[in-house]
Amino acid sequence: MSFWFTIREGFKGFRRARLSTSLTIISIFFSHLMIGLFLLATVNFSRWVDTFKNRVELEVFLEPGADDNDAQVLARQVRAMPEVEQVRYISKKQAAERFEKEFGRSVYDVLQSNPLPTSLIVHLKPAYRNALSIDRLVRQLNKMEDVDEVVYPQRVIALIDRYLNVVYIGGVTVLLLLLIITFVLIYNTIRLTIYARRDIIEVMKLVGATKRFIKRPFLIEGLLQGAIGSVLAIGAVWGVSLLIRDHLYSGLLPVGTPIWSLLVSGLLIGYISARFSVAKHLKEI
């Protein structure tokens, strides 16, 4: 009985402050739509970055004097490093074949001998495919015996990392701002409902309702606002992904399970802001 009473009173709060409730739901909807679109962009952007970084390899050139045996020893050492996923050994002969494949002429035709050095092609584990880890690894490799030079697309990797950081920090800042705005709006809506329902709160106190009992409908109201706004946002993100996939880019990945974090966030922000508002404003009645 008391449970349904609380739920019913929670819904009544909606009707009492219709305009501010609608505004709050709309703002939860928009802030969560933004978060959802951000998630959608992140999922797709990181897949694109991963595909690119997957192709990143370090080429470790050996000293001209190093022979096959030295190369095998070095390969074994490199393979044992924690950052390394795979090492491929390119002998002088294979290097010559690669040259021919790339330039269409044999190295012997151009230079009469094969000056191409032996090398190791190093693939990194996904966690280490960033500028910082690569730099550290390259410094380590350079110090090793028989290593002449390490070549890799340093500039591109640094650039991607820098932009990724800017995008993430910018995105998270905007999202935090949106959440703060949503907090203020819910806080204020609950304040308005509390004032709109002053009479009922006064009677509740008079007939001996406990504080918790008086608070509950307002918390339910905050939760409901959060749930409605965020579920609408989840629907909208889903719709937007379908539209993009059908009309713009068929390779679009959906957000998947993390989309439900929007519902969690909606419920949380609804509950927390209602709690703060109730704690502050119920006393004033």
Binding site: M1, V203, M204, L206, V207, G208, T210, K211
Partner: protein, 216 residues
């Protein structure tokens, strides 16, 4: 049952009660009288502990204003019925629900609510109007609903703050008769009023307040 010991209270820097001491015994009917602003309502608010004394103490049944914890106050209020001049009914629910409200917020079960509400509505002769909304009732009927809500929890005392202040003489008499009936059933009544007519018609003990202090 209700005891005030040298109670002095300031509200917003203003002295409202000065050294008030009195006692109300079980089942008593007493009037609290004096001019407007003398402190009658503040005395009533001390009893349901909406206001706490700055000095002295108020004892209501087993509760002492100096020792009561905040979470005990709702329990105290369930044993006290309060009636106001402006009724304080909820306009968005009918007579039955207004009375049932006092039981619902204290967690009484559905069937029990129905039984008790119907009983108290019969007691104030409003059973037939249980589905009407407060706006469609006369002042006297609204006050009877408020009284029904006040007694539905079987309180040991009814605090009535100028319950006839908004009513004509005939209706006031009707309300007084209901309060008398409730009192005869054993519930104490402390009623604030400045109506000479009521004071003279009903010869109960008078507690006179003037400028926040009791007069002999």
């Amino acid at each position: 049952m209700i005891e005030f010991y040298n109670v002095s209270t300031r509200i917003r820097e203003q002295m409202i009660l000065k050294d008030v001491t009195f006692r109300l015994v079980k089942g008593e009917f007493a009037f609290l009288t004096g001019p407007s602003g003398a402190g009658k309502s503040t005395i009533l608010r001390h009893i349901y502990m909406d206001v706490m004394p700055d000095q002295g103490m108020v004892i209501v049944e087993n509760y002492n204003s100096a020792k009561i914890k905040e979470k005990e106050i709702p329990m105290l209020r369930r044993k006290i019925g309060v009636v106001f001049q402006d009724f304080k009914l909820l306009p968005d629910r009918n007579v039955f629900d207004n009375v049932a409200f006092a039981l619902r917020v204290t967690g009484v079960k559905g069937r029990e609510i129905r039984r008790r509400v119907m009983r108290v509505l019969a007691e104030v002769n409003l059973g037939h109007k249980r589905n009407q909304y407060p706006a469609s009732l006369s002042g006297g009927e609204q006050q009877r609903v408020a009284i029904a809500r006040a007694i539905v929890n079987n309180p040991f005392i009814i605090l009535a703050d100028e319950p006839t202040g908004n009513l004509d003489a005939a209706t006031s008499l009707e309300i007084m008769q209901i309060l008398e009936k409730i009192n005869r059933q054993g519930t104490a009544i402390l009623m604030a009023t400045h109506s000479q007519e009521i004071l003279e018609t009903f010869g109960h003990r008078r507690i006179i307040v003037r400028d926040g202090a009791l007069r002999p």
